[in-house]
Symmetry: C2
Subunit: 155 residues, 2 copies
Amino acid sequence: MPQSPHPAPLRLATFLPFRLSVLSNAVSQRIAELYDREFGLSIWQWRVMAVTADTPGISATEIGQRTQMDKVAVSRAVAGLIEMGYLERRPSTDDARRSNLVLTPAGLGIYELIVPLALAEEAQLVTALSDKEQAELARLMGKLAKAASPERDLW
Amino acid sequence: MPQSPHPAPLRLATFLPFRLSVLSNAVSQRIAELYDREFGLSIWQWRVMAVTADTPGISATEIGQRTQMDKVAVSRAVAGLIEMGYLERRPSTDDARRSNLVLTPAGLGIYELIVPLALAEEAQLVTALSDKEQAELARLMGKLAKAASPERDLW
DNA sequence: CGAAATTAGTTACATATGAAACTATATTCT
DNA sequence: AGAATATAGTTTCATATGTAACTAATTTCG
């Protein structure tokens, strides 16, 4: 009986979780650097701005759901944005615990400046793929997301 | 002239950097939890073990290159593994600054326990995709990696 | 050879992050 | 009603992480 001297090989470079992590970090870092350099925003602050622009009056909890941020992270990002004058907290009339969050005019202003830059950065990335490949990638990622957390509906 | 009331839309849910980040986090978290729960290892310690098993006598710097970890992270992971008795530092004879790192028998033992679990976890994930889809995903990720950091050769 | 510049790796410090505790309000249940 | 439970959001505390400074050994080059 062989003593299985080299049981199962595991090459990190072909291991999907590793590759995903490295790729995601490389992409995130590029984008984070852009937001920070140009506007002094963290990625989390940017995410909060994006969903608030999309849904004015959103609550912190809802932001957490949409952005996959935990509530502490949302709380901190919101606090930072308010301090910068980009976000405003409006107490909800029907539930005193929650606030309705809206971008200030200043916030909306820089949001509109960032959007095209963010889209351009993304475009530079996905332009490496044909339209068909982009669609396929989105589809495959959707499947993986479902396999990775079936309970939570990620997107 | 229209006053462009809704300049460019940006839906986070379709924005590639966001999706990549969320997917990668979901996957990493599952795996990290496994390594930590079963063996008390961080993802970084696991990565160090994996490349050291693959290339016994590797140096910290080389580990950093292969795993995309910065040297501080490598240093800390190595220190932890040595403390746990899984890794051994052998001073290099021809360069006193570097150490040749090797797994101890204990380290090799748990490495061999982890590998099948890690592969099983990955399998559970990628089984959502056909072989052909898996290959396609790998190809698309490779293209993106190149577009995201052309300078550094990620894999 | 020997000063200057490089490289391997660690340490220190400042910041980021997550888990758990906490405050305040709302809801449920008897 | 009012006690028990749950929810929104913040604060605290302990840990993780990155940048920069540092030590020690090596290489480069006048």
